[in-house]
Subunit: 798 residues, 2 copies
């Protein structure tokens, strides 16, 4: 193992076994998809196409309606490539004697490599090496290269290369009763003498997707393609081209399949079919494509890598996580109206809906690829009108972004859900997770803090902040008895407590996380209003009809949101949490072993999680994750609520005991907030989070798609927890708490126009500002603030 | 007349007459389109829909292939609205006795108003007032409001409201032999009890366009709609709804038709049909729509207006020009991948192709709506790959943007053209107008200078500049005899000289405008390279493979481009211009009167413009337009070429005499460069340019679409010529040369993050920086530089 490569040796030939074994190895879907490359040529074996490198937004962006879900669809499969010898059977892994099977995900270069040696029934020994990429340097290009060597035979070979619109969505077992076919074929045919093309359209969203493929064969080391006999077959839903040629013992041939693809949502195009057909004729070869693809990946890693001295496994997995993040969001997605689906572009679970995962993703991107962050915020901005309509329909003002956001920003949260433990369906009230509207405001502000992008705030950010503030002001009410503002009927991130025991109505009262976030949002909305140019402030106030009374209300709410407590400085997760029953944790652990999904266990027992003091995941503790202790103290002090040096440890300890960590995101949060007083616990949770997808610790959910929030979260927790990075008052603070098991970290950050190269060890931090940009930026180490000059490195003892 | 309104009284009922009379009045197509509102319900009367307010990019963005031109198409027509009384004939202007006809374009509020009073054959007298808008506040909305008053009758009225995909392109007479039908209908039907919808698709580009319309009737002054009897008719290509109700003598009723429209190219949508159907049900009324529409127009004018003390006609026409610019490009187009078609969205001439008009448009927008400028540059950036392929196919390096750019950035310049004077077809070599690649570089730099948008330069701008510089370096060659770089085979902006007399090959040698622009581009490419952060420079140099040798070449070219001269300080428009024959201008003027199109006249006589010293429009003189004398002197000095105080007047005088002004853009350039030594001539050309579209001075071309470059150019010339505005070395210089016929100007500019309110009179300039933004910006008056502080006004004597 190198820290740049994920390797898998060995092979289990049965379909399900293959899926499981590859998943267990940890790169899940990526491998499963890869296997389709030489699965039999039965269309149903291609459950979809995971594009390893930056293109295919369709998988998630056209997410469909609940239940019917017609449009959670992908591209036609561009991978089909198989061969046969002397007119025999088409190659099938199950029919050969495999002597070598080795699969590598080369993350440095963004390459999928597979090495096979096998003997067929006729005793012919053959070696096949495959390299595959989706071009990161320029969108719309992909390629597969095969090197095929006849070890002990010569003969006529036919290579079959296809484009297949017969793909179905069968990746998630529990969705298999739903419609699985989402593409219809519109057109296919030859693109020129060597190339084929195919144009399909999604059923409901009517998005056209075009592909064109050129397949050529070379003697290894030669530039001029071999003359081959080509035959093209068109079927209902796919087109294939067979290339026949002679292969000689011991003389390797290279097969190159180059693909161009476009959708009707692309910019700068005429029509996707024409684009694919025209551009495939312009010629490109695998080596050239690979050269630029490598350059781009090199630059991405230069910006995004975090290096761990001497910890190869951690290094490899952190890179695996960053790699998957960059598969989903990269320079190629900036212009695509791309949101952040919970499973990346990787699997079909959650049907591509957009939740709040960007809360864990943006802080990493803000400092490395700020244009990508900006594009994710624009994704929300484009759906602001839908969020306004959503608020209005619910009787609120401003904009209410939905918990599960479909393609056009509509609410797509399920209204019933199934407990697989009991087989019963229940009403699902999780749409009351209005806190996604806190996450979006937080993301806007963090992006602005990291970049200083006034232009974004003036044109987009401020408007979203004001509309979100306005929403919170309208869902809150003033309680004169307490002289406080309260919010009822919402759910915190906890997710177990959909309502009070026996209540008719959904939601709880005064979720602490929500209320504190709202107090903070009111403060930053006012700061944003104040920070606008007079001219722009006047425009926005006029357009949005923001009155002086409304501004006063926001200011009042910043000081008077109600925060519930129960006993001795403990923040109540929500009002009444203290009145719930204590769960007999030990008894349930003993009885069930894994109690991550206590909600399902209780429901199956005829009980309900509503009755107990328990959380699926961090809720009130999210506050300690999103804010440093200093920042949080300032918010609480403004609210006139108690906060002292015991607040953090006391609450963390209490809620840790009451959390089942039913979501791995919970591990991220707990790990990030505990390195100061429970370094070993923090480390263990970090390790568990790191292994969660690669080890598929949630019992098979990884095959349905990686957990992008958690993958990004492991990096976010390094940044928040171990580096202690936070921006306050235009200063980038570092408050490092490096676990003693971590020997050191190196990374680069882009802050307010300046790149900083940072080296962190247990007892010192070295910051080297690169040349160019502003003369200085302000960096804080502990409580002290330094002006770092472009080009002058500084070292600080910790 | 008020300076905010264009009014037309009177009516010529015949179709062609209507078109001409309305066009002569000056708002051309806008009115023609308006007339369709109550033309008969024969589909062919609706040549397309001009959307008065910011939406419909389709008209131009899907511009098609030459000759066939399948996709220069628009939306289905949303305007059809007519009525009949007591089951009689549907209303037809030709059948009634019109006692009042008044039409107003209210530019302040972006409203089209029409007032009619008429008597029908049965003697019934009726008044009808129509107000129409396409919502500028939120894209995707439009509305028509009718107020209908029965003067001397009561009875049953039926209003017919339709959506019509049967539109054809018949606006340009000489294109009428080409395919004119570009839409096919996909779906239609009711959207709910009150609303109808229609989904169509363009033939070739397969862009889906959906519309939904709700029509309601009210007694004037009442909020609750009248109960009406509704009948819906579906035909092949259109859907209509008839609303029947009773009307009483003297009691006005209001008819509201509210429309929502989406295309498959929109962002943040699910599918256009669903969006239109869903959103029409959310309810909206004309009054609410108008309120926000007005607010938005108010803000646009607040940013973009230029006021002229006491000159109502000039004021009105300048506003008409700004209004048309804002119809084509506004906040609503930022997210639309919108280019700048030569005829706006206004007519079908040039088939929506994108030329270089943005050269005249961006300087105005840079200072007022910089996000719109940025979006226009991104339009080019998205077509950079196509420009790269175009360069490569032509044997060059870097990126070569085409002279006439089609939807995906491909070359669409015609290869043959027709001389309507002679009826002969000739090869068209105008694709050799490579100078569009100078215009794009200039636009990038101007935007950057005005905004200081480093982010744009780092992510997009620098890459385009480098690729353009690289193109010029590859098309140029070094001539060791002269120790100069030369460029052969291109055409300057002149446009008459496609080649040397009798030559086989197209283009001329060393077009002075091109060569000087190239020298300047090399300089700014180096400046941009130098200005990047080290980190980003390294990335871009690696990705684009920019070598040290290449950078040296650029530097060398900045100093050694060849500039041809002929005699006594005269810049030769191109090498050999001096050897051409002198035209007998007076003889031709006498013979033909209007000699704007001398090329056609000469060709019809069996001669050719190639033989003569004549220009269709400014060519070498463009340099004096794009740069102040100081800036130009610096460029020439760097080149070691003669430039003194006589250079400008001498060249301007010489070329003025040799220019036929075959394009009205030429008037703009000449007017802007002459106020210093020929103020009266400058003023006269300004007046002529102002009147060119409103007076349709080019013999009927306005009906084919307004000339957006010229409209914007009249404002650009005020900015360049009369205000003398130019940014050099981070300083916004004003060097005012107010014509004595102009009493004073007031306007606002946004420069480097600060809004400046400027008041200019003959002998003083007052600049009032608004609050907010940077502490200071640098402003130059004449040669002196001042630091203006936010919030502190300054006055300077001139």
């Amino acid at each position: 193992m190198t820290p740049w490569t994920l390797v898998y040796d060995g092979f289990v030939p049965e379909e399900e076994g293959l899926r499981e074994s590859l998943t267990a190895l940890g790169n899940g879907y990526f491998c499963t998809r890869g296997a389709a490359e030489w699965a039999t040529d039965d269309g149903t074996h291609y459950p979809g196409t995971y594009m390893a490198g930056g293109f295919n937004r369709l998988t998630t962006e056209v997410a469909g309606r609940p239940v019917v879900n017609e449009d959670l669809v992908n591209m036609p499969n561009w991978l089909p490539l198989t061969f046969r010898i002397e007119g025999g059977e088409w190659f099938n892994l199950a029919d050969v004697d495999l002597t070598t099977y080795r699969q590598e995900l080369d993350m440095k270069d963004g390459l999928m490599i597979r090495v096979l040696e096998f003997r067929d029934k006729a005793g012919r020994e053959t070696a096949l090496t495959s390299r595959r990429l989706v071009n990161m340097a320029r969108a719309h290009k992909a390629g597969i290269e095969w090197t095929l060597t006849a070890r002990n035979w010569s003969g006529r070979v036919e290579v079959r290369s296809g484009l297949d619109a017969g793909v179905i969505n069968n990746n998630v077992a529990r969705y298999r009763d739903l419609a699985s076919k989402h593409l219809e074929t519109l057109e296919m045919g030859p693109a020129d003498d060597e190339a084929i093309f195919l144009l399909a359209q999604t059923n409901q969203s009517r998005i056209q997707v075009a592909q064109a493929a050129r397949t050529r064969v070379f003697f290894d080391g030669e530039q001029v393609p071999l003359e081959v006999e080509r035959t093209t077959h068109e079927e209902d839903e796919r087109i294939c081209q067979d290339l026949a040629f002679q292969i000689d013992e011991g003389r390797p041939v290279r097969v190159e399949k180059i693909v161009r693809f476009f959708t009707s949502r692309d910019r700068g195009i005429y029509e996707p079919g024409t684009e694919a057909r025209t551009r495939i004729t312009r010629g490109s070869d695998f080596a050239t494509m690979l050269r630029y693809h490598r350059l781009e990946w090199g630059q991405l890693w230069h910006r995004c890598d975090i290096t761990f001295a001497g910890q190869d496994r951690i290094q490899m997995v952190v890179r695996l996580h960053i790699f998957h993040l960059l598969q989903t969001l990269s320079r190629n997605t900036i212009d695509l109206d791309a949101g952040t689906p919970a499973r990346g572009l990787h699997g079909e679970a959650y049907r591509g809906h957009i939740f709040w995962d960007e809360l864990y993703i943006l802080p990493f991107l803000n400092f490395r690829l700020p244009e990508v962050s900006r594009s994710m915020l624009l994704y929300r901005y484009r759906r602001l009108d839908e969020a306004r309509a959503h608020a209005q329909e619910a009787g609120y003002k401003g904009a209410m972004f939905p918990w599960q956001s479909g393609s056009n920003g509509r609410e797509e949260t399920q209204v019933v859900h199934l407990n697989p433990k009991s087989g019963r369906w229940h009403p699902d009230l999780s749409h009351n997770q209005r806190h996604v509207n806190a996450a979006i405001a937080y993301n806007i502000w963090q992006y602005y803090q990291a970049t200083g992008d006034e232009r974004f705030m003036a044109v987009y950010g401020a408007e979203m902040l004001f509309e979100i503030a306005r929403f919170w002001a309208s869902i809150a009410h003033y309680n004169p008895k307490r002289d406080r503002y309260e919010i009822h009927g919402v759910m915190g991130p906890n997710e177990y407590h959909e309502k009070y025991p026996g209540a008719e109505e959904g939601g709880v009262k005064n979720n602490a996380y929500t209320n504190v976030m709202v107090a903070w949002i009111m403060e930053i909305a006012l700061e944003a209003l104040d920070g606008l140019l007079d001219h722009r402030r006047d425009e926005l106030r006029e357009t949005l009809e923001i009155t002086d009374e409304e501004v006063s209300l926001w200011a009042d709410m910043a000081h008077k949101m109600y925060v519930p407590y129960h006993g001795d400085g403990l923040i109540s997760q929500f009002e009444g949490f203290d009145d719930l029953e204590e769960l007999d944790w030990d008894a349930y652990r003993e009885k069930y072993g894994n109690i991550q999904r206590m909600d399902r266990i209780l429901e199956a027992e005829g009980d309900s999680a509503d009755h107990y003091k328990l959380s699926k995941q961090a809720d009130a503790l999210m506050l300690f994750y999103l804010f440093s202790e200093d920042s949080l103290r300032a918010i609480f002090e403004r609210l006139g609520c108690p906060f002292d040096e015991h607040t953090a440890p006391k609450n963390i300890e209490y809620y840790y005991k009451h959390t089942s960590h039913g979501s791995t995101l919970s591990l991220i949060v707990h790990s990030a907030i505990t390195p100061g007083f429970d370094p070993d616990g923090s480390w263990d949770m970090f390790m568990a989070a790191l292994e969660s997808d690669i080890g598929d610790i949630q019992g098979g959910t990884t095959v349905e798609g990686i957990h992008l929030g958690v993958m990004a979260g492991t990096v976010d927790l390094i940044q928040r927890g171990y580096m202690g990075a936070e921006i306050r008052d235009d200063v980038l603070f570092f408050n490092p708490l490096l676990p003693h098991k971590m020997h050191g970290l190196k990374f680069s950050l882009f802050f307010r126009g300046m790149w900083l190269d940072v080296e962190l060890t247990a007892n010192k931090i070295k910051i080297a500002p690169q040349h160019g940009g502003p003369d200085t930026v302000k960096v804080g180490i502990g409580d002290r603030i330094y002006y770092l000059r472009s080009g002058y490195a500084r070292e600080f003892a910790l």
